[in-house]
């Protein structure tokens, strides 16, 4: 192991691989920041290019991209309330309010630091867990997936920003949308109205582009002005305040990273759940939960630490079993196969040097991306000071092009535009958009694993209660739902009330 590790480090610090790494990180940052584009698109576009490269170089390039994408996505989440990718959505909650208060620099500083550290913790988790990876992956069958999805859904209740009923309504709407399309289990089409585009269901990325990027631009255009409404004379030097905040909130960082790495390692759940769970946990454990959503920097730290830590985690099922944890990982598997690397338990033994090369590249890229972000922060912040009359047309066009670039499918553009209107109406009438997104992501996972569980047990519900991991997750669900109520009761009993 140490030999392979040293070899990987030696290879990584050559001029050639450092340039590939920088190139990958740059591409990752850019593709991450543009809503709609993302790691999946970047990797898919690069597949033909890596064809002629040797595997080491291809792996370094891919590692750079995977390391750069998550932080790139947090930039647009903070500056424009537009997550670059779904896992960045939780960063919007507090990152954007900070930007509106003129504290975008601090938010970027915190996101960059949390991203880099989270990424490194994720990789460390992966290295620690690889020897027992098989046991972990085998523990998660359909009943466990179902419980995990429900746990994610229960985060809706705490992500509503105090508007529980409205949150549940939009969550319910998201669940309805999640069931559109071909039913993989039963084999029928549902609610597609004869539209072929809907066969694959409501696509997450165009929905996100619409709900956030386009809706936000419509909303801003109706009021005019600029994103930052704080005093425009404020200096932009708060970046390092953000860095310091991360070290002042180490428990949030560590918890977020652990949640990210763990959820990432469970195939098929993905980064969105990781960052939401981390965010909602930080909120629930906070002494001052009401400040979340109003620009609490802990929200940014929790979300971004988890978002970067998940990559290390999700390499476990991808490499060890060839089961992609996300769309991005699915394309990554293609890169591996094209270079003759068969994913599976033997990959880790036969190509140890390549795997360590990837891990090192991923770690270094996380750090590189964050440093680049810190250096560029003062210029990026200018976006929030740009007049909406110029900002809105540019962001809207880029967002719609991003929607098209995803699969070269015009249906995605139409979907993004429709979600833009829905998103604007939700903002206008004060319905939380994020609960819709959580439900859209988790609805189909919950449904599929529920049916699969019952097929496994010949229709007996006991399967959900007789497996230790499922039981543990069920306990967590109960705790996460009961905790806010308990807090309320204790507060009333003690009569402190925190001045509400």
């Amino acid at each position: 192991m140490t030999d392979a590790l040293i070899q990987a480090v030696a290879y990584l610090f050559t001029l050639q691989s450092l340039s590939y790494l920088a190139l990958g990180t740059g591409i990752g940052l850019l593709f991450g920041a543009v809503p709609g584009l993302g790691g999946t698109t970047a990797l898919a576009l690069l597949i033909p290019l890596t064809f002629g490269m040797d595997p080491d170089a291809a792996i370094v390039l891919v590692g750079g991209i995977m390391g750069g994408v998550p932080f790139g996505g947090s930039l647009s989440a903070i500056l424009l309330n537009t997550p670059g990718a779904a896992p960045n959505a939780a960063t919007c909650f507090d990152g954007y309010p900070l930007a509106r208060q003129g504290k975008a620099g601090a938010a970027i500083g915190a996101a960059a630091t949390a991203s880099a550290l989270g990424g490194l913790i994720g990789v460390a988790f992966m290295l620690a867990v690889i020897p027992i990876a098989k046991a972990i992956v085998l523990l998660f069958g359909p009943p466990e997936f179902f419980m995990l999805a429900v746990l994610g859904l229960s985060a809706i209740a705490v992500s509503t920003g105090g508007k529980l009923l409205r949150g549940l309504i939009s969550g319910g709407f998201g669940l309805m949308l999640a069931f559109v399309g071909f039913d993989e289990v039963g084999g029928g089409l549902r609610y597609t109205a004869g539209v072929e585009y809907l066969w694959d269901g409501v696509q997450l990325v165009p929905a996100l582009i619409g709900l956030f990027a386009i809706a936000e631009m419509i909303q801003l255009s109706t009021v005019g002005g600029r994103v930052a409404i704080g005093s425009s004379t404020e200096r932009l030097s708060h970046v390092f305040d953000g860095v310091k905040h991360v070290f002042g909130n180490l428990s949030t960082l560590l918890r977020g990273s652990a949640i990210g790495a763990f959820v990432g390692a469970v195939p098929g759940i993905g980064g969105t759940v990781a960052s939401f769970l981390s965010y909602s946990t930080a909120r629930q454990l906070s002494k001052d939960p009401e400040s979340f959503g109003q620009g609490n920097i802990q929200g940014v730290i929790a979300s971004e630490a988890a978002n970067n830590a998940k990559d290390g985690g999700s390499l476990i099922p991808t490499l060890a079993f060839g089961i992609p944890g996300s769309a991005e990982m699915a394309v990554f598997l293609g890169v591996l196969v094209l270079h003759g690397l068969e994913p599976g338990p033997r990959l880790l033994l036969d190509h140890e040097d390549l795997i360590y090369g990837l891990i090192m590249a991923l770690s270094l890229a996380c750090v590189m991306a964050s440093v680049a972000g810190l250096l560029l922060a003062r210029y990026l912040v200018l976006i929030t000071r740009t007049d909406v009359r110029y900002l809105a047309p540019i962001v809207t066009s880029v967002a719609l092009i991003g929607a098209y670039a995803l699969q070269s499918n015009f249906g995605d553009v139409i979907a993004a535009a429709m979600f833009g209107v829905i998103g604007y109406l939700m903002v206008r009438y004060d319905y939380p958009r994020i609960t819709l997104v959580i439900a859209l992501v988790l609805g189909s996972i919950a449904e599929r694993s529920y049916h699969q569980s019952l097929m496994m047990s010949d229709g007996s519900y006991t399967i959900f209660f007789t497996r230790p991991v499922a039981d543990t997750l069920l306990a967590l669900i109960i705790v996460s739902l009961a905790l806010p109520a308990l807090k309320l009761v204790t507060r009333k009993l003690t009569g402190s009330g925190h001045g509400h």
Partner: protein, 315 residues
């Protein structure tokens, strides 16, 4: 007379010349190759692997440009190939039986595979019936003696793996149910290792590493020539039809493809599939090709269609 002969010969010569010019004309431009699945999948890799080699054998230095068009379980891409102008500048890849099953099961699709111009077959993954190494199941007899329905795992309802599981179970006389909805072949194979179901049909390249570790055991081979000496074969089981179940990737073009374009494309594909560079690449990455000529691919399609038609009431 002599002048006339000269003239006639000259005219004949010009005619010949113009004919060769005409036949050298296709392709004048790059050719789009539609892949109805996402970039990076197994299907994508097979097609992208053969294109650069096939390109070498096309006249006029044109390019074969892969275009991924995923959507609606491959229906979107298949429809795009089917509806393209039959001038040879749009061809594409088809998954059998995956793209044939919707038609057979009575779904209205916008393409008709019986009219597609087949250019040849790229690959065929034959199935192995596997059970978890710790399950104690070692033979078909074991499965019959379970005293309860045998649980298969597979991808979505109506997929190739689902259909193959149902048909194999019927041929073997097993009372079976299929747990559907797994996202890809690796996922449903892992589901057997984990114990979600009893058995699954997997291609040898998706199960290889689990056999080495003892997580999976091959209890029967559905291959024509078994790569596992210990496993029961279709011939030994007295069920040669079992080996007709497989997962195939074919190249095809729109119906009524221009004859000249067809000749050029079929020839280039045949040469590519016999090329040593392709063979060595295919071995190095572990993606085995199983070439069939255009004519044989057409017969193969008819044979596959007949098989799934026969069992359509059980699917």
């Amino acid at each position: 007379m002599r002048r006339l002969t000269t003239k006639a010969l000259g005219a004949f010569g010009i005619m010949l010349l113009s004919m060769t010019v005409a036949s050298a004309q296709f392709p004048e431009d790059d050719i789009d190759v539609i892949i109805p699945y996402a970039a990076g999948g197994g299907f994508d890799s097979y097609v992208r692997g053969v294109l650069p080699i096939m390109q070498k054998y096309l006249p006029n230095d044109v390019n074969l440009i892969p275009r991924n068009m995923p959507g609606a379980g491959g229906r979107k891409g298949a429809t795009a190939i089917y509806r393209a102008r039959p001038d040879g500048y749009t061809i594409g890849a088809f998954n059998l039986p995956g793209l044939m099953l919707p038609e057979i099961l009575g779904e209205r699709v916008a393409y008709d595979l019986t009219k597609v111009t087949w250019l040849g077959r790229l690959s065929e993954d034959q199935y192995l019936l596997v059970a978890s190494g710790s399950s104690g199941i070692t033979s078909i007899e074991h499965l019959r003696a379970l005293g309860r329905p045998v649980k298969f795992t597979a991808t979505g309802a109506g997929s190739s793996a689902h259909a193959a599981s149902v048909i194999a179970a019927r041929m073997l006389g097993l009372d079976a149910s299929v747990i559907t909805g797994y996202q890809g072949s690796q996922a449903y194979i892992l589901a057997v290792v984990r114990g979600d179901g009893d058995v699954a049909l997997g291609a040898s390249n998706s199960i290889g590493s689990y056999l080495d570790t003892g997580d999976l055991r091959v209890i029967a081979s559905l291959e024509r020539e078994s790569s596992f000496p210990d496993a029961q074969t279709p011939a030994e089981l007295g069920l040669p039809d079992l080996s007709r179940l497989s997962l195939q990737r074919m190249l095809g073009a729109p119906p009524n493809l221009d004859a000249e374009a067809r000749a050029v494309l079929v020839d280039a594909l045949a040469q590519a599939l016999a090329d040593d560079d392709l063979k060595s690449w295919s071995e190095s990455v572990g993606l085995p090709y199983a070439p069939l000529s255009a004519e044989a691919a057409r017969e193969n399609f008819a044979n596959q269609r007949a098989l799934y038609e026969e069992f359509k009431d059980f699917l």
